[in-house]
């Protein structure tokens, strides 16, 4: 198209060597991260930064993941709808501003800059508040509305720049030659604006595809988009699945771009191509839209969960045996889960809660007790886990899985066996130790090692604990929670505080890594399912939990997620290599030495101050 807008020249601007080098450098800077990302998608290892050999297995894993497909489909639908709606609105806004005089025109023009000027998070919150106030249930509609809100002004600005550059006499010439206003728009103005409109479409589509913040605030649980999905996956450590998704996305975008480039060339093939592409895109849109509408008719059960924290096979089985569709919505922190379930009408039935967040939900009346009568399989839950401190009656929560915090180390590089937490203070490994990036865990451990209890909330004890951690600080590589395995595998570190589930992912593939729960004891996390007061389908929620607790299913689930569940009958059914794995089920663990973290209340501020000083060092 550009060739039609101005004559070419032969000045040869931009052919100097310096400019070429600079360009090459910029390209390198731009592309280097992408290249790394793509290469590691073909890595055999489950670590994202340690090369172990070529493999396509992560592609298989990714393509088989039903939730990724759903997320991708949702992203496409939202991106497509946004591209169409925002481009139409944006173009109309630009034409209105450029070609008509009306009251408030200047104000409108200035307002168009707001998405550029306002932080995205503010727009997101504003939209959320608006939807809650209007009592609009969140879903596809609200996400698309949100995306259109921030992307149509960008289209308008794009088109406006183009309209501004367009000579008015073209319109006059068209009218002069007998064309009506409508024909003038169609034959002259729109074609002249076509490059801007096409970029607008692409721009909106990619903005939508990339958007995280606004989607987070406007989406309902069943409308997980790809960025939301990827983000929730990051929580459980980066895996090459994320690289694979990126590679597929890059391929997808490239295809679209090349197709558009080809379509923009003039010629008979292209004309047919454009028509064909238009028909196909329209058909696809209709198909997708109807598939959503069809899904909507079905009975659904919505669960807020950590990513990869339930066996998808079980979901399928439940769906086919009950006809209820299970929708997972993922979060990546307790805080996010709390936010998810406490605004407006979240449309969530069950949520995975830690003891701390369960207490908060219970106090604010956001959860209700289960009806034990309707969950006969509750009897399989281990007695120790029935009446946790945060749920003394045992009716508000159903314990799901737990994990232990211990030491993960490289037996080839650390003189073992390790049995005590004091190994984390061993100066021989200075600079190669990792502690979890978790304030509560660090201060609990320091208190515990000193013979104190964090729950006592004593400042003098806290100061001693701080001194102990301060002493450890110079020995640490860093406080890190997400990339522990990668750092161990690359020998950047030799020993780390880690959760057993995470440790198992490393030790199962690399037997030289060992996980122990030190003799002083360790911290325990428990995830429990809670029933939301606003649950749209509490009946299905009860049925689902009963389904899940059946020992053979619990066993299957444990085998899939590799976290222990408080279900002794189920554990007995596990294949021996899992049942006897000391990482998944650490040996010599008895209830007394295990800590379940509770909310420190106002004392948190005291801990926080000291933690920040540690981090700053």
């Amino acid at each position: 198209m550009s060739a039609q807008l101005g004559r070419r020249n032969d000045l040869g601007l931009g052919q100097g060597l310096a400019l070429k080098l600079l360009t090459a450098f910029c390209m390198l800077l731009l592309l280097a991260p992408l290249v790394v990302l793509v290469v590691y998608a073909f890595n055999d290892s489950r670590q994202v930064t340690v090369w172990q050999g070529f493999s396509l297995k992560w592609f298989a894993v990714t393509l088989q993941d039903r939730e990724i497909w759903f997320a991708f489909r949702n992203s496409l639908i939202i991106g497509g709808l946004n591209a169409v709606l925002a481009t139409i609105l944006g173009t109309m806004a630009a034409l209105a501003i450029a070609r008509h005089r009306f009251a408030g025109r200047q104000g409108f023009l200035n307002l168009l800059h707001y998405p550029v000027l306002l932080p995205e998070i503010i727009i997101g919150i504003a939209l959320l508040v608006l939807f809650v106030l209007l009592d609009v249930p969140r879903g596809f509609g609200t996400v698309v509305a949100g995306h259109v809100t921030f992307s149509f002004p960008l289209v308008a600005l794009l088109v406006l720049a183009r309209v501004g550059a367009m000579s008015r006499t073209l319109e006059e010439a068209s009218l002069d030659l007998g064309a009506s206003r409508w024909q003038t728009y169609r034959f002259v103005i729109l074609p002249a604006l076509a490059p801007a409109i096409v970029s607008g479409v692409l721009f909106c589509f990619t903005l939508s595809l990339d958007d995280f913040v606004i989607t987070l605030f406007t989406a309902s649980p069943d409308v997980t988009t790809l960025p939301l999905k990827v983000y929730s996956m990051v929580k459980f450590g980066l895996t090459p699945v994320i690289n694979v998704i990126s590679v597929l996305l890059i391929l997808f975008t490239l295809t679209v771009l090349l197709a558009i480039h080809w379509l923009q060339k003039e010629g008979p093939h292209q004309r047919w191509g454009i028509r064909l592409a238009g028909v196909m895109v329209a058909a696809l849109a209709v198909l997708m839209a109807t598939s959503i509408v069809a899904e909507r008719r079905q009975e659904t059960l919505v669960i807020a969960n950590w990513a990869d924290y339930i066996d998808p096979e079980l979901l399928r089985e439940f769906e086919s045996s009950t006809g209820v569709r299970v929708i997972m919505t993922h979060f990546s922190s307790d805080e996010e889960m709390l936010a998810k379930v406490s605004f407006g009408r979240p449309g969530i039935d069950l949520a995975m809660a830690t003891p701390v967040s369960m207490e908060i939900l219970r106090k604010s009346g956001l959860i209700v007790p289960f009806d034990g009568e309707r969950i006969p399989n509750l009897r399989y839950i281990d007695e120790d886990f029935r009446h946790l401190g945060s749920d003394p009656t045992g009716t508000y929560s159903v314990p799901y899985a737990y994990g232990l915090n211990g030491i993960l180390y490289n037996t080839r590089m650390v003189e073992g066996p390790i049995t005590s937490w004091w190994a984390m203070w061993d100066e021989r490994y200075a600079g190669r130790l990792i502690m979890l990036n978790d304030m509560m865990e660090a201060f609990w451990l320091a208190h515990h090692l000193l013979g104190y209890r964090l729950q006592d909330q004593r400042l003098d004890h806290l100061d001693e604990a701080y001194a102990l951690l301060k002493k450890q600080r110079p020995l640490l590589r860093k406080y890190e929670s997400d990339l522990v395995n990668d750092m161990l595998l690359s020998h950047e570190a030799v020993m780390a505080q880690a959760w057993n589930g995470q440790a198992h992912k490393l030790s199962s593939e690399h037997p030289e890594y060992r996980f122990v729960v030190p003799e002083e004891g360790a911290s325990l996390f428990i995830d429990s399912l809670v029933l939301l007061a606003s649950a749209p389908n509490p009946d299905a929620a009860h049925r689902f939990i009963d389904f899940l607790l059946a020992p053979e299913r619990s066993s299957q689930n444990m085998e899939a997620i590799l976290y222990p569940m408080p279900n002794a009958t189920a554990r007995a059914l596990l294949p021996p290599e899992i049942r006897d794995d000391t990482t998944i089920f650490p040996a010599g663990v008895d209830g007394k030495r295990l800590n379940i973290m509770s909310d420190p209340g106002d004392f948190r501020r005291q801990i926080q101050g000291r933690w920040e000083r540690l981090l700053a060092e």
Binding site: M1, A3, Q4, L5, G6, R7, S167, T169, L170, E172, A173, S174, L175, D176, L177, G178, A179, S180, R181, Q183, F187, V188, P191, A192, A194
Partner: protein
């Protein structure tokens, strides 16, 4: 055919076109001549329908079209910058007017071919406008307008972007085209040569008013205002006083000398102050005093300016005034006019019938 009744245009406080009347006849090649910014385009835009007159009516074939939108006026325009559609090929540009009127495809093809043939651009159908020279673009614009066979074709300085040679060639072609098609042309220009060579009638426009509207010959030979005399060609002006008026004689005293002039406005009375105008090419230089059928001033050659087809002498008169004389080149000896030197004393001479007498 086209009649403008007291139309005027104001932008806020600025009056761009003063109320003016004009009647253009069927088949005329009408020229509007004026300097830059005098309101030519504004006037044309009102006729085409892009701008609404502040007051007055526009009639086409006896129908009031003042409020008719441009796409319903049987008028087409060739724009000052051509305004070709950059995203369409030459063919689609030319076919545009027919296409929007839903003309059958076959007829469009024939008429486009004919129109391109007419402007000499056969074979350029598949070019994009950016791949054409200025002159070719101008022809496409012309074909695009002519193909609709309008009652009236408006042309806004279509030749101003062309070099002189091409421009002159196009003048000829335009005049032929107009004659053949029989379409009424209203042609706007600031180039007097274009106006004089093509037009059947010329209106000279100055600051939103018509100073004079007549045939090219009349315009040149009998300018009615000092502006017209000066703008069309060039003219030496002198203050004068009427001394004698009779049906076939007009006496004017200029620079203390009595000159007898036969031509000029006849509503003058003795004692009126007037402007006396002489075109440089009506004058000659001579070493001899004027004969009795001639008039003359005596002065000194101050400057010589070689123009190519002629040479212009500036002669300073005794009274201090300067007068330009254009001398044809057949009088040149080497690079001098009749061997005359700088500062040489000469007579500037003209026959008594030459010159115009205008109201002061």
């Amino acid at each position: 055919m086209l009649a403008l009744n007291a139309i005027s245009k104001r932008y806020g406080d600025v009056s761009v076109v003063e109320p003016l009347d004009l009647v253009i006849d069927e088949g005329e090649f009408f020229c509007i001549l004026g300097s830059s910014g005098c309101g030519k385009t504004t006037l044309l835009r009102m006729i085409a329908g892009f701008d609404r007159p502040t007051a007055g009516r526009i009639m086409l074939d006896g129908v009031d079209i003042t409020d008719v939108p441009p796409n319903h006026r049987d008028v087409n325009t060739v724009f000052q910058n051509y305004a070709l559609f950059p995203h369409y090929r030459v063919y689609d540009n030319v076919a545009y007017g027919l296409k929007v009127r839903k003309t059958p495809e076959a007829e469009i093809r024939d008429r486009v071919a004919a129109a391109l043939e007419l402007v000499g651009l056969s074979g350029f159908e598949r070019r994009m406008p950016a791949q054409l020279s200025g002159g070719q673009q101008q022809r496409v614009a012309l074909a695009r307008a002519l193909i609709n066979r309008p009652r009236l074709l408006l042309l806004d300085e279509p030749l101003s972007a062309l070099d002189r040679k091409t421009g002159e060639q196009m003048r000829q072609e335009l005049a032929d085209l107009q004659a053949r098609s029989g379409i009424t042309f209203v042609f706007v220009t600031h180039n007097q040569a274009e106006a004089l060579s093509m037009a059947s009638r010329v209106a000279v426009m100055n600051r939103g008013v018509f100073e004079q509207c007549s045939t090219p010959f009349e315009l040149y030979q009998r300018p009615q205002t000092r502006f017209v005399g000066d703008f069309v060609g060039s003219m030496n002006f002198f203050q004068g006083v009427v001394t004698e008026v009779s049906p076939d004689r007009l006496g004017v005293e200029v620079l203390g000398q009595s000159r007898i002039e036969r031509r000029g406005a006849s509503d003058l009375a003795p004692g009126d102050t007037v402007v006396f105008g002489l075109r440089p090419e009506q004058l000659r230089v001579s070493l001899l005093a004027p004969k009795d059928y001639e008039n003359g001033f005596f002065g000194q050659i101050e400057r010589t300016l070689f123009l190519g087809e002629a040479t212009q002498l500036s002669v300073r008169l005794k009274s201090g005034e300067r007068i330009d004389v254009k001398v044809p080149n057949y009088l040149m000896l080497e690079d001098k006019v009749m061997g005359l030197e700088q500062n040489e004393d000469v007579w500037v001479v003209w026959s008594k019938g030459s010159g115009v007498v205008l109201h002061a």
